[in-house]
């Protein structure tokens, strides 16, 4: 199974930041969702960020919240998500990070969840409503399962917490570019460059930026700022929402968009620092 280290090392040699699309697993249904994710891989995704849908996703904006509800209503649950991931990995072996909420992990059973996730082909699990302060509740099980840890840093995270987060993170640091929830935004926050620079001075693990990246230029800007990856969620999920009755069109639009982003990342002026 391909690790984050494999992928980010290779990208570092190519001086290119990773394209990391985000999908809600099972949005709008299992088969369409799988076709979308496979198309994203074919369009050049380097790493996948997959959300297991939850009824009350408080870190997410309305676009992803609606996708969560669609996916839950279509019958998606944690066990089916594991099957979904197995099928994605059969298409191609690229690293997969899960993004989810703590209640689902607790309900499934922590040790069993991380073990099953690893067996399905997952590389890391980011729990959106768990901070570094409570990481002890899961890190033992994460390590036992052989998974990488991923935590978030936001523009208002104190330098001291950044150090703690950097010390506990083995996969990549999920850097939130704005104060707020997920969602497409017209302009990227000015604070991204400074945030990436500060994190890069603290850690050697890759620094990826998400929240608010909705255009190829945004992705290129975060790569130029030195980030190792650009995570794009709401814009993609919005394309799915706009084409609920025409899955083929959704797939074509997502695929074309990611191809553009990939091209933008490939022509980024400066590549990320070596991993």
């Amino acid at each position: 199974m391909k690790s984050y280290r494999d992928v980010f090392s290779e990208l570092s040699r190519q001086k290119r930041a990773a394209l990391i699309p985000f999908f809600v697993v099972g949005d709008p249904d299992f088969d369409t969702s799988l076709a979308l994710v496979q198309a994203a891989i074919d369009a050049g995704a380097d790493v996948l960020e997959l959300g297991i849908p939850f009824s009350d996703p408080i870190a997410d904006g309305p676009t992803i919240q609606k996708a969560d509800i669609r996916a839950v209503r279509s019958g998606m649950n944690v066990r089916r998500a594991m099957e979904f991931i197995r099928q994605v990995k059969q298409h191609r072996d690229i690293p997969i990070g899960l993004l989810m909420y703590y209640n689902l992990v607790c309900h499934y059973g922590k040790a069993e969840f991380f073990r099953d996730a690893r067996d399905a082909g997952v590389n890391s699990v980011l729990i959106a409503d768990m901070t570094i302060d409570d990481a002890d509740e899961v890190l033992g099980s994460v390590r036992d399962a052989g998974l990488d840890s991923v935590f978030m840093v936001t523009p208002n995270t104190s330098p001291e917490r950044m150090k703690q987060i950097a010390a506990q993170t083995t996969g990549f640091i999920y850097t939130v570019s704005v104060l707020g929830v997920t969602g497409s935004r017209d302009a990227l926050s000015d604070s991204v460059e400074d945030l990436v620079r500060r994190l890069k001075s603290l850690t050697n693990v890759p620094v990826c930026v998400g929240f608010g990246i909705s255009k190829p230029e945004h992705a290129r800007a975060v790569a130029d700022a030195g980030a190792d990856g650009a995570i794009i969620g709401s814009r993609i999920v919005g394309m799915i929402e706009a084409n609920l009755h025409n899955p083929g069109k959704a797939i074509a639009e997502v695929s074309a968009f990611l191809t553009q982003v990939k091209a933008a990342l490939s022509t980024s002026r400066q590549g990320p620092a070596a991993v």
Binding site: D56, I58, G61, V72, Y102, N103, H107, V153, T157
Partner: protein, 391 residues
Amino acid sequence: MKHRGRYGDYGGYYVPEVLIPVLEELEEAFDRFRDDPAFVAELAELSTHYAGRPTPLYHAKRFSEHVGFKVYLKREDLLHGGAHKVNNTLGQGLLAKHMGKSKLIAETGAGQHGLATAMIGALLGMETKIFMGVTDVERQSVNVHKMKLCGAEVIPVEGGTGTLKDAINDALRYWTSHVTDTFYLFGTAAGPHPYPTIVRHFQSCISREARQQFLDQTGRLPDMVVACVGGGSNAIGAFAHFIDDPDVELIGVEAGGQGVATGKHAASIVAGTPGVLHGARSYLLQDAEGQVMDTESISAGLDYPGVGPEHCHLSDIGRARYVAADDAEVLETFGLLARIEGILPALESTHALAYVAGLKGTLGPETIVMVNLSGRGDKDVGIVEQHRPLE
């Protein structure tokens, strides 16, 4: 954070990273001001002259005759705004002012917390936004109107079932985008630390007063204190100063909706299992997949799938007992109290009364029971009329 905010296995602060600095700031401000003489004096002044504290402890003689034991009502319904909610909004509103925040947001179910926040926003000259589920906007339209009259903006929330849970989701989301100048005035003793502690502190005036009033009026403490539980703010306020009195039985009454057995209810402790929602571990109504369930109650204020962490702990250690009253019992008791005492209780508070009414004939005549009448029922008259039209 300085404290972990745990009550046994419950509580904590399970939130996105972006909220940590603001919760830390809130915790620090609360620790600094809670016993600050100037802050305490200002709160006391407003509690007395604006909100109307102390509230009476009323011996409901005709209701007592009906059930066969002594029932006292702690009249939080007589407070300005018509509910206990003002205790908390005054406290947190002053805290927000002392922290230098200029804007308030709040979530509301029945509208009582929304109204109490709107009132305090007006009083303190702060811009106020109230998040309210669309279902609740419809069923509590009088309170929506009152909030707007106080100058608050009411934001209808369409997600989920359009009830309190969804209003909290959206208020939390809004807060994460406006953390710099906005204070989230959380309405119940749930949510992430330090809210359960803060709300308990500002609501504990209920039991502090009641304890002394019992000693003054009856020469002893009550045998039982009963309060309704949604998130649990009035109940924790009513329990707080009796928790160390082992002879006082504490009963929390949850929303049984159409009956706990039907699955259409909001009885989180009675029928839930531990889980994590809105920043805290608590008893939670969740389905077989761990998704949070839709709840159902005639009372918008109790229509919530989680519950405050201290209640979960009190239940686990056996210090308080939690039961449920269903909609039918509640409607019957609403009419009963109106007819024999001339008091219209909020449908929320009526859950506590319904449980006590159900004890008729089971307790001795000298038994003293306190019911926390957490709010008044004017806002619910339309709902009651829909279900039980007067002839």
